[in-house]
Amino acid sequence: MSADDGLVIAAEQLVYRYPGQVEPALCGVDLRLVHGQAVGLLGPNGSGKSTLINLLIGLRTPQGGRVHHAGGREPVVAWVPQEYAFYPDLSCRENLHFFASMLDLPAIEATRRVEAAMASCMLHEFADRRARHCSGGVRRRLNLSIGLLQQPDVLLLDEPTVGVDPQTRAFLLERVRELVRAGTAVLYATHYMEEVSAVCSHILLLDHGRVLASGDLATLLHGPEGSAPFDHLEALFMHYTQRPLRD
């Protein structure tokens, strides 16, 4: 596929083994992230999802394969972790200003991005409240808004809705859909199948560091040739990963 197909970043045959481990955490994983497309990253605990995200952010270097981007400038990759990765004793606004100040931006642009991120995640009401004193839903929104400060070409979301109420979940999913519509390439790692169905057009299913299924979600739901289609994504997931508990 060429850059004209909207490719932003691609991983090819990634291999990664943690020091002291016999089994590789990732083995021969391919992934393509395209402008305006969300890919659901699925897999049981320990399947290699977080390792793949770390390789895409550039925090780890693969021992095999490569991560590359298409075209001219290097894409901006933002990461929204599962944890509340900010300072609980700073207010929402202070957190956003602090992270914006870490970017190489003029002060006016940094302030503009903070305001835009707060507006996007509806944080103005809580702007001056310390993050520690905000509800779980507000903290999730703050976590996402910090990622948006980078105005990313690629957004890596790691379980962005854990522990939130249905209203906040719906809000967050709608924000992600908006980002995709605006052209952002999204990788959405989660255990909630209905969220993937609601947001993603493609999936990558991992287990034991290997790709079990990958591609267009609608096509995959039709099932392998000669077998019945899957009723829903969870049936597809269980079909490929099997029943036994993983941890």
Partner: protein, 403 residues
């Protein structure tokens, strides 16, 4: 150049964030400011008597079990000179000691006089209330021995006749050795600086150093939270390198050490005298002073970073850092001045980071500092800081890049 400036801005903004977090952490502020200030106050008054040549005699109660007139006359002369009171029995004296009506007791056992007709020192018994300082007890003991000796000499002089009395002269007089007649005591630092040693001059540098090393508490609190919540990793995705993270923390907490310094100087100079203690002298060599503060600060912050980087939880870091600081402080002579330590421990205390800091800082505060004394200690502190930073670099790098 612009990349360098961007990194520099990141360092400054990270440092500003550390200050903001610290100002919202009352427990951290208490550990860094209140704790050493309280120690300075307590120790400045506690050591006041230990560090002066003259110690006050404790108020004394007397019990005369020997009823001879010479004993009554001797006790009467003592009470007239030093004050105190007589008690009829050991039981009454014990009650008075417990009620703190007197601080010490002297029991003149029967027979006070030996077969040679001279008073015997071993027939005196000294009782001490639980709060009498050892130095005051030692002075009471010395005064009693000397007074007994005077009585012996007076008796000997009376027996020898008029000629011997002339020879013995005032030594056999009724007067006890007056304090102004005692040899003058001067420590080396007093000879060098021309100032009298005071407890506050000893306590301020000692507890300042102790407080500076306690930056481990706020540093560990933030760094461990940053690591466990993935904030360090997130910073990496914002283009913040581990070196910048370390630089921001070094800048923030080394500046904080200077604020601690200003606060402690204020306590010593203003608060201690307000409460009746001696004022801290500040006519100190500024160059050596700044060098010692800067190198001590570098060692304190680097050790704190190492502990924070190598521990898994805040509880772990607080226990290890706090415990280590107390041990280092005890070894270095922060809690108990070195002059009160046995010689072996004094040697050991010269080989610890707080010991190097205290050596250099005390020479600045108490004496006449020079390059030969200050530079080796400043060098050791800088070397210690460099080793700590090297050892903390790898875990911080791994923590930032391995969520």
């Amino acid at each position: 150049m612009s990349r360098f400036m961007h990194r520099l801005k990141q360092v400054v903004r990270l440092a500003a964030k550390e200050w903001k977090l610290l100002l919202r952490n009352p427990h951290g502020l208490a550990v860094l400011f209140l704790m050493p200030a309280v120690f300075v106050l307590v120790m400045s008054f506690t050591l006041k008597n230990t560090l002066v040549a003259r110690v006050e005699l404790p108020t004394t109660g007397w019990v005369l079990e020997d009823s001879i007139p010479a004993a009554a006359q001797w006790a009467g002369e003592w009470l007239a000179r030093h004050g105190g009171q007589r008690f009829a029995s050991r039981g009454e004296l014990q009650v008075a000691l417990k009620a703190r009506r007197v601080e010490a007791g002297v029991i003149v056992r029967d027979p006070w006089m030996g077969k040679d007709g001279r008073p015997r020192g071993e027939q005196l018994e000294m009782w001490l209330g639980n709060r009498v300082q050892p130095a005051a007890a030692a002075r009471l003991r010395a005064e009693l021995m000397f007074s007994t000796l005077q009585v012996q000499m007076k008796i000997a002089a009376a027996e020898a006749g008029p000629f011997a009395s002339i020879l013995l002269g005032s030594a056999a007089s009724a007067e006890l050795l007056p304090a102004q007649g005692a040899p003058a005591i001067r420590y080396l630092y007093e000879i060098e600086s021309g100032r009298t040693m005071t407890a506050v001059q000893q306590s301020v540098p000692a507890w300042l150093i102790f407080g500076m090393f306690f930056v481990v508490i706020p540093i560990a609190g933030v760094l461990i939270q940053e690591r466990n919540d993935g904030t360090l990793t997130r910073l990496a995705t914002f283009g913040v390198s581990p070196g910048v993270v370390l630089g921001g923390k070094l800048l923030a907490f080394m500046l904080l050490n200077w604020v601690q310094l200003a606060f402690m100087l204020l306590v010593g100079r203003w608060l201690v005298p307000q409460l009746g203690g001696d004022a801290l002298h500040l006519d100190i060599a500024p160059g050596w002073f700044l060098l010692m503060v800067a190198t001590t600060s570098a060692a304190a912050v680097s050790l704190a970073l190492l502990i924070a980087a190598r521990t898994r939880s805040f509880d772990h870091a607080a226990a290890l850092g706090g415990g280590l600081n107390v041990v280092l402080g005890a070894i270095a002579g922060v809690m108990v001045p070195r002059m009160l330590m046995p010689p072996t421990l004094q040697t050991v205390s010269e080989w610890s980071p707080m010991g190097w800091a205290l050596d250099g800082m005390q020479s600045v505060f108490l004496g006449d500092p020079d390059a030969a004394h200050i530079l080796p200690r400043a060098g050791l502190l800088l070397g210690f800081a460099a080793v700590c930073l090297l050892l903390s670099w790898r875990p911080i790098r791994n923590q930032e890049y391995a969520n």
